[in-house]
Symmetry: C2
């Protein structure tokens, strides 16, 4: 890769490393962070690959933003305060325009998720973006997947299925009015920050996860980790007006149940605990299965259901 590209990347990214817990940012062998005293460190990594997790011709600004948002979503699901992140960027000979726009998307996400970019590695190869996020949480306060109890209510933090509907739109599988199409693609490309909600759920939620594989799959991870069953009331699923406008309600529900990439939170609240937001969509029961009352043959997130949690 020509030097100019490395210099360019360094110039773009080195300004994004300032934050309250950052003692030393990009430019040495490692970064130095100072988590608040006595807190636990929260760590996760998320990779996206061109042609697998995003289209090669997606706007690079969106690619950058979404890569960070997807990783930050795991911090939200733990109830963590964001501390910082590193970015491992593998890219082929890329043009400056692409890099400029990609960096702009990363910068927007750095601001939106309060995740200073403290380190990185840039290598040449097929376009792959790996984001490692670091956060902190008071000891014992992290939201795990494993605490759900029968009788708990199950909530989601926002409308579901939007990202899957957007993907179907982009694939030409259906058409939507311009306003709905714009809304849905924004939901796909600019996942929300649920960091604040996650922090409010500390001491309240018995279990939490972010919805990246689809509601049924991710609720399944809670069910498996907690040793419980979950019953989803499909009539209660929050659908955006764009999805409500879809001619087939069954298709809309299918996206809401199995579509990934919405990056909303799914969480469980014991009886008597008020939710700081979100919509109640079901109940924790004894058992070990997720029951949504409708068959989901060949659904995208469905196979993940049996997968080991990661």
């Amino acid at each position: 890769m020509p030097l100019s590209e490395f210099s360019l990347i360094h110039r773009y990214f080195s300004s994004l490393g300032r934050g309250p817990g950052v003692a030393l940012s990009v430019g040495d062998d490692c970064a130095l962070l100072e988590p608040p005293a006595g807190q636990q460190l929260v760590v996760s990594v998320d990779t996206v690959v061109a042609g697998v997790h995003f289209f090669e011709d997606d706007f690079p600004e969106d690619v950058g933003y979404r890569a960070v948002a997807a990783a930050a979503s795991d911090l939200a699901a733990m109830g963590a305060e964001p501390l910082g992140m590193t970015l491992a960027l593998t890219l082929p000979d890329a043009d400056e325009l692409w890099l400029h726009a990609f960096s702009e998307g990363v910068a927007q996400a750095v601001a939106a998720f309060r995740l200073p970019l403290v380190g990185g590695d840039t290598t040449r190869g097929p376009l792959t973006i790996s984001v490692q996020v670091l956060g902190c949480v008071p000891p014992g306060d992290a939201l795990l997947r494993s605490g759900a109890q029968p009788g708990d209510a199950v909530y989601v933090s926002g409308t579901l299925g939007d990202a899957a509907a957007a993907l179907a739109l982009l694939n030409g599988d259906w058409q939507a009015p311009a306003e709905d199409a714009q809304y849905l693609t924004a939901r796909l490309h600019r996942p929300p920050s649920r960091l604040s909600l996650g922090q409010q759920l500390r001491g309240r939620a018995s279990a939490a996860i972010d919805i990246s594989d689809g509601l049924v799959a991710d609720a399944g991870h809670i069910a498996a980790a907690s040793g419980v069953g979950i019953v989803i009331d499909t009539d209660a699923l929050p659908l955006s007006s764009a999805l409500q406008n879809h001619p087939s309600r069954e298709q809309a529900l299918r996206w809401a149940l199995t579509g990934g990439d919405d990056y909303e939170l799914c969480y469980c609240l014991p009886q008597g605990i008020t939710s700081p937001g979100g919509v109640c969509i079901g109940q924790v029961v004894s058992g070990e299965r997720v029951d949504c009352g409708m068959p989901l043959p060949g659904a995208a997130g469905y196979h993940h259901f049996e997968q080991d949690a990661e």
Copy 2:
């Protein structure tokens, strides 16, 4: 990717996550770590790509070991205690044999570098391995690139050029006696741990870096960050007996000066400070250049010399 592969990876890797600072390992949205109270957190990420950083047909055990060793080397260069790591693995349809051997190499490195594997992400795509390492260091004790002063002595922690000579061997550019060839390829595939040395250099070294791009390039990073010059005495460069056996001393020196991937440390010690190991190979002077007394046209690490530090 078939479920069986994910399950396999999970089975291999989930046993590698135990360590003194690990409160929660692989299996939830994030891992939870507990760094020693009052310490700074040390963070770095390192990516290797098939066909760029290693040969497609390298033994997968070596690929796994080396990916971890390369990332751990940055912790050593900061004088950090290892705390844990995450592994982002992007791989095409891989056979079980490959995965088994790769995991075995990672497991060996987890033990050798005391870096429990606390999280990861497995995606499908071109073979790319990104390792994020976490360590800790008492505040103010981290070894930076920026503290070298004229008059300091410059040390390296071990023989140089071995990995470059091994690469040349594997490329068929020269032949070595079997014993030398075996030694050199082991140096390439199994980089050393300098974590202990790095920790001993705290409070002693004025600057340090690990040699991943080549001595001249990496000494250049110290020179640039410290605002000094560095004079290398090529007669003092430690060469393995395998390199001393090479018919061309000039070629051997060229590898030692510009060959990357040795993952030894280069560090500076003020006058009167004894080195806990290593070999003195030069002096810090006023100026801003690295001078090794011989021309290095088109050398591998040379272009990096002008690159911005990362």
